[in-house]
């Protein structure tokens, strides 16, 4: 093998050059950043998934330690819940048919989008931006697309039944995984409405304060009245977002917390319905 006197120095120049070019490309070129993100996410997917497999295997084995009676009771409870949900679905099916017939009679166009629901598990969470984004274990292979709405289930305060609420939107999708920008992230922009006031606004970005999250809702009409605790729902104005899904409640003690925007609109604070601290499973709604 040939040895040049300045071989070591050349190697140094080469490595430093490559390192600086990489750094510059990552900082400046967005397409390169996206490509790196996809490659790294797909490459690391099986390794990151290992911990999930171990957890699943452990929880499956721990089921064997449960008593027969408690397992039978849990099964019975699930069967009852299943029957209740089946009955609800059947009732909704009738309503859907009625709605279609009425739309035909009134010559109103049928809603354009149908939704495909894909369940996913939280794969990776960023310890620094814990509540701003997380990665799920489904990607473009499962039909996910950037911008799709992500839902999570919370217990409804009114009747203690599970309620799907908005958790965020997909900001980037790779083959096996996808990154979710949560409702408090600035990347998650969503059109919302306040049915109690009849207002519509745009939700974008929030902060954590005293263990609670506060999200800004802008462009709410000045002329309307708002009260703390009023529910906010998705407006469905975008074809990527189904309407009527709960997003959160208006924040405030006796009056709503917010400021005037350009002397024209209200910018109010909303408390998201989703509990971002403890999130394991989500559902992604993709427009068909």
């Amino acid at each position: 093998m040939l040895h040049y006197p300045d071989q070591k120095r050349n190697r140094k120049f080469f490595l430093v050059g490559v390192a600086l070019m990489l750094l510059a490309a990552l900082t400046v070129v967005q397409a390169f950043r996206r490509a790196t993100s996809r490659i790294a996410s797909d490459f690391f997917y099986p390794f990151v998934r290992v911990s999930g497999f171990a957890e699943d295997a452990l929880s499956n084995k721990s089921l064997l330690l449960e008593k027969k009676l408690s397992l039978a009771a849990a099964l019975e409870k699930l069967q009852k819940e299943n029957s209740r949900l089946l009955a609800q679905t059947a009732a909704l099916e009738i309503l859907h048919k009625e709605n279609s017939e009425l739309r035909n009679l009134m010559k109103i166009a049928q809603p354009s989008a149908a939704w495909n629901c894909i369940f996913a598990e939280v794969l990776v969470r960023d310890p620094v931006f814990w509540e701003e984004n997380f990665t799920i274990n489904k990607g473009s292979e499962s039909g996910l697309v950037p911008g799709a709405l992500v839902l999570a289930c919370v217990a409804d305060a009114d009747n203690a039944t599970p309620l799907p609420v908005v958790a965020g939107r997909l900001s980037s999708v790779s083959k096996h995984s996808a990154v979710v920008s949560t409702v408090i992230s600035k990347d998650c922009v969503l059109s919302v409405r306040v049915p109690a006031s009849g207002a519509s606004g745009i939700m974008q970005g929030g902060v954590r304060d005293g263990g609670r999250c506060k999200v800004s809702v802008r462009y709410l009409p000045r002329s309307l009245l708002y009260e703390p605790g009023q529910y906010l729902y998705t407006s469905g104005l975008s074809r990527w977002t189904p309407p009527g899904i709960r997003v959160g409640t208006l924040y405030g003690d006796k009056t709503v917390e917010g400021v005037f925007q350009d002397n024209l609109h209200w910018e109010l604070k909303m408390e998201p319905a989703v509990k971002l601290d403890d999130l394991h499973f989500v559902m992604v709604m993709v427009a068909q």
Binding site: A19, L22, L23, R33, V128, N133, R208, G210, G211
Partner: protein
Amino acid sequence: MTSHVYVFLLLFVSVWLEVFFGSYGILVPLVGVAVYYVSVTYDWDIGLLAGICCGAIIDSVYGRGVYFSSLLFAAVVPLAMFWLCFVETRSVAMLAIPGACIGGICSGVLAGASLLLCGFSWDVFFQSGAALLFAMGAGALLLPSSVLVLDALAEDLGFELFAKAKDKLPQRR
């Protein structure tokens, strides 16, 4: 060539473990420690390249919009070279000081970025402060112990040693 594979595996495992612990909310500066080890044992140019690549991978896997980590891990390299050239490196216990600095670099800047990007609140401030202290403590423990373990492994495998890096410093120049 074999040592390159060893360095690749070392960095790969450190990235994987950092992401693994990170998913449970624990910020451990494992990659920073690995970059420090590589920078001292092999050379600063390899450490720099490794730091930038590992940073890009970590930010990609976490889905961050802004790529901070490459710069942070690149900042570990001058610290490693300063400690190697100007401070006594024979004592393994003394490595707790750069270890704590690595923890501070890796989590402090990220905590600051979190405050800037997500809006300031006392809640986030105290959480970030706690994460910073934890990362500094973890770094102080991890660097000396990693050096001991990795040097023992490298000795068995016949690779370059961290302990002999200072002796080889004139050759590198």
